[in-house]
Symmetry: D2
Subunit: 364 residues, 4 copies
């Protein structure tokens, strides 16, 4: 399915080398001045070719509005957007059943098994190019969250074995603009440099490396999340694991909780200086019983090393005969820098949809 969300819903379309990619966003609040420049800015943050550590595919990714607005205002009707695919190189990819070599750890083979056919041109629908529509949808969701004073900010917290340690207080102060001043989107001068050189070293070898993106949602409205199956963390996990190349999700204490005792892990209730009921610690990561408690929502996502490497690899052809394969195409040696706006977009979509669901249950 290419739709995400119950009420605030996106439906994306497009393969990596077809006419265009895009999205329909349903149920936007009507009569809102929608900031298209902001959406384009988020698209630029996802854009390939934005720096020397990303793929060289040159896509302007220019936003084109097809419907849903008039005189700068949303009409409450579906917002449709299209972004042309410009720098397609169908020649880089061919589809000849006799010669076709599925790339290791790519979706080529599973698409063929599932659909009996696969886009000749690169990743097709499995390409991260599809996420253009998600970033557009998320940017629109951001404009609703902004009005609630809720902010979604993601950053690179690890690449290879280079980890960023950041205190909860520092994390709360992070902004997208500040993070964007680092080429790797790891918001620490030293770590940024080390990650950059690791990536460049691997790029030179034709290899790639994994990474981690951490996301913090500050000041989320209390009471979001729909037990028992649409808990906030369940929807976030769904959203994150739907992003290409993801292998894990954790919230709050995450996998670290396994080694903790209850007396260490429990977050005591306190009253803060303004008289608000809060928690002292935040091992819960912002939700209890799947419902937001007003504390920052903090989660991380693991991204595998990109499968496309410019090194000889073993594979088989569709008849099962052994062959050697070496990637052509253009790809990122590490995806996390460009994954940052995608993680943010998916988180914003989840939150706005939960806000809608929560508000629907009117008081009598």
């Amino acid at each position: 399915m290419s739709s995400f969300g119950q009420l605030f819903k996106i439906t994306t379309f497009g393969e990596s080398h077809c006419d265009s990619v895009g999205v329909i966003v349903e149920n936007m609040i009507p009569k809102v001045q929608l900031d298209l420049v902001y959406i384009q800015k988020q698209l630029n943050r996802r854009r390939p070719g934005q720096s020397h550590i990303t793929t060289s595919r040159a896509e302007p990714d220019t936003l084109e509005l097809l419907s849903g607005m008039e005189r700068g205002m949303t009409l409450g009707t579906p917002l449709a957007f299209r972004v042309e695919n410009r720098d397609t190189r169908p020649g880089d990819y061919k589809f000849d059943e006799n010669e076709y070599l599925p790339r290791p750890s790519h979706a080529d083979m599973t698409y063929i098994w599932k659909y009996g056919i696969h886009s000749a041109s690169g990743g097709g629908r499995s390409s991260a190019r599809e996420t253009v529509g998600r970033v557009i949808g998320g940017s629109i969701a951001d404009q609703i969250l902004g009005n609630c004073n809720c902010r979604v900010v993601a950053f690179v917290s690890q690449v290879g074995n280079i980890r960023l340690n950041v205190s909860r207080k520092d994390m709360l102060a992070l902004t997208r603009d500040f993070i964007d001043t680092f080429v790797t989107r790891c918001p620490n001068g030293a770590a940024d440099k080390r990650i950059e050189s690791l990536i460049l070293k691997l790029k030179k070898k034709g290899d790639s490396v994994g990474g981690k993106v951490t996301c913090i949602v500050t000041a989320p409205p209390k009471g979001l999340g729909e037990p028992v199956f649409n808990k906030t963390e369940a929807l976030l996990a769904h959203a994150m694991l739907s992003i290409p190349a993801t292998k894990g999700f954790e919230i709050g204490s995450g996998f670290g909780c396994i080694q903790q005792t209850g007396s260490e892990h429990n977050d005591p209730w306190i009253t803060d200086n303004s008289g608000n009921i809060r928690t002292l610690t935040n091992n819960s990561g912002g939700t209890l019983g799947g419902i937001t408690n007003g504390e920052p929502i903090i989660f991380s996502v693991a991204f595998k090393p990109p499968a496309t490497i410019k090194m000889d690899q073993n594979t088989v052809n569709l008849k099962g005969e052994y062959r050697r394969i070496k990637a052509k195409g253009r790809h990122d040696p590490c995806v996390v820098a460009r994954a940052v706006p995608i993680v943010e977009a998916m988180a914003s979509l989840v939150l706005v949809d939960l806000i809608y669901q929560h508000r629907s249950r009117l008081t009598l």
Copy 2:
């Protein structure tokens, strides 16, 4: 929302201390001899009071069929089941707005914030008692998977810092019956003993501890998963993070992938002895591009230490005034042993729903 699944769908009901908990299972294959004894057996594996390391709440959890079968056969109509709550102790829990003390890291406070009301009687809907309905649904799904020769087996792979290391080959040989011979459901004599004594030690102190459940799906059908939003791992992550007390999900290499390079992580395509196209390694954990590749699906779930501990803790009352709280009620010092059948159930539900979705797209 209390429904899970698009086509093979469950809708659960019930709080920890109301009349009963249960489930409606929609869209079961008709004219199937349904094994109710098998369902009861899975319920027994989830049941409280099944051993000295679990809660002492004594619930027989007897399955009662309300509709959907006749002469032992499914009718294709909704299967409804009810399990009575017997050992309820409303007296253990009171609700007086002036005296009410929300328990740290429980959902008491967030339910009050969301709904303006909370079950006076224990966890209410946030209690794991709700998972009775999931286990029933999953047991029915198992009977479909069994016919595809696909098997879902989960086990405890870590508690505190006691980890089980198990080879892929050994993992493939595991069965639910074998795992059940270990009181902790950690299928290794030494580890089982160490975990048991750790849990008993913590139980004595009134404390609790986290743990990890690993699940392996052997011989899943190829081609399952619905890009781009309903990838297999996305639905599994959603399913797992909807289980109470979960903090993380990882598939295949999981968070370990962050430190790997592409040349290490990629799973080369090979041809096995029977001439089938397979992968040499399985860092992918059984899916590529969100679609199953026929390799075992292997994933893990992190469970936090139970929030209920019999130690004095800080909290506030609903006016925000500081208070001390000490748990009454009856609870598990570690949830993972009983979480095993719940993880299995949710995995089975995801797989059968994906099988249905995949089969719906008929060939012309």
Copy 3:
């Protein structure tokens, strides 16, 4: 699918002769004093055996609450209800593949074609007994509508060729209690008598007759309906045609509009004495572009003559050999009197779900 509604959602279960029928109602507003006596009263209005013109099947239809309430208040969690099947006579119905005779214009044959199996016991899931769950759900929805001063009232407007003509003004004054004073639920003394004797005459002959139910929703909130596919009339039509034995739906001018010109049919905008913008006429039946305009929603539903007649009929056995069949079982010679509360229930469910959807789209 046995679920209806996006947000305010019911899921029903049960066949005509299994243990019980019932419903799960999701997303009820929390902390509401729910009037169970009112729900039982609506069930009684649907109950078989309530008068000499309905089936003699004697079912007390006693409401049993399984979950979702505490101390008389809704918890915001799923409300589950069960109603036992008492007066089942499995002996009236047998299932022997060699002897089985599908009843003309019943769902026996199509259930066998679809599912390969059919409840031996009467209509099974296709029986109107399933509507018990709908009436429970609708009665809960009523309590939300009541708070908006919106009222849903249905009545019998035609049986055979006996029609009730009722002015718009008189229709607005109708109440459920008043209508219930007529045994046929046709709220006019003369028409009621004529319909009663028609039904009794046909009952004696073992025949049956069709009828029409008209429903009026007074003071619906303005702005309900979700273009373009979930227009108010589209959801109402869906809801009504999902009721057993229905053959048609019309709203406002209905099929009469075919013979009208635009200049006759258009409803001019006016300002009423209180300064509210209204329409002079209401050919639109309360919606424009699928969105409620605040005028009464008026629609009608056609019910076919019950298929069960105590007369010899032609049919074939499952091998296609000609046979004669004569109904046993107990049935209504005309369903419309008992259909009234079902039509009301489905209308209430649609309206509350639309209210939820409309409120979800918060203002910034």
Copy 4:
């Protein structure tokens, strides 16, 4: 909501005067040679300006494929299509809150009440221009039905008081091509002429008239329809009442059943010459218990006279002050001829979605 269908799903976008209208079609069968010329042909049948009895708005309605196909084959990924709006005349429509006059029986006022804003340019989203996306989706569904030898054909059966009487046998022989040889799409020379002159007479007066479209589905697969809420007729009714300007739906005997007795209405089971179990008559209209019985599905839809008439009418401005209004814009004096392909499209979408749902429930 702008999505229709559970599995074979369309999501439409676009207003009458924005950049473009279009649709995303999800879950098309992969590896199918899709006939785009056929889709364009259906669009042409819906196109404004196709004859002297329709609106003079000149739209080429040229189909533009954005994604989902390669080398003429479907990829199984979302098919996205766009059709530019060319002949927009924003000047015909203005939006000035002080001068704005809602048109009687149009959706202008209800959109303003619902959304607080309305497209300045004509009907906006409530315009039938939105149905372009439905016809594209339906044309794709047709290609699946064609493979099942199932055919969907609609025609005009009444305009004003001019009715077409057509026998069941003649109805079964109708084809879209034959119907298109009549300018009114009423497939009878005499009736066609009478309707044409009625429409031209009303066009001259600036008035409009209602009409009826009847649709026949020949050779539908048996066993379609998902009780209890997604019965075939329930989904068809939903689909039809979501088309602009519709006021009623009936299937089989329809509202006529009210005056029938059971002994007249029941369809006896017979065995036909090929040994198939069929029904002698078809008052049921092709479904029993909501499930197709293999007989032709026959239903009708009532369309109101278009609200746009070139005559002076009473209305009020947004302050509630009385005003006179006379339509500018370009509109159809009767919509049924152009509604024919829209009814067909919605019927095809319903059927394919039901085929998908039915096939999903695999046999063990």
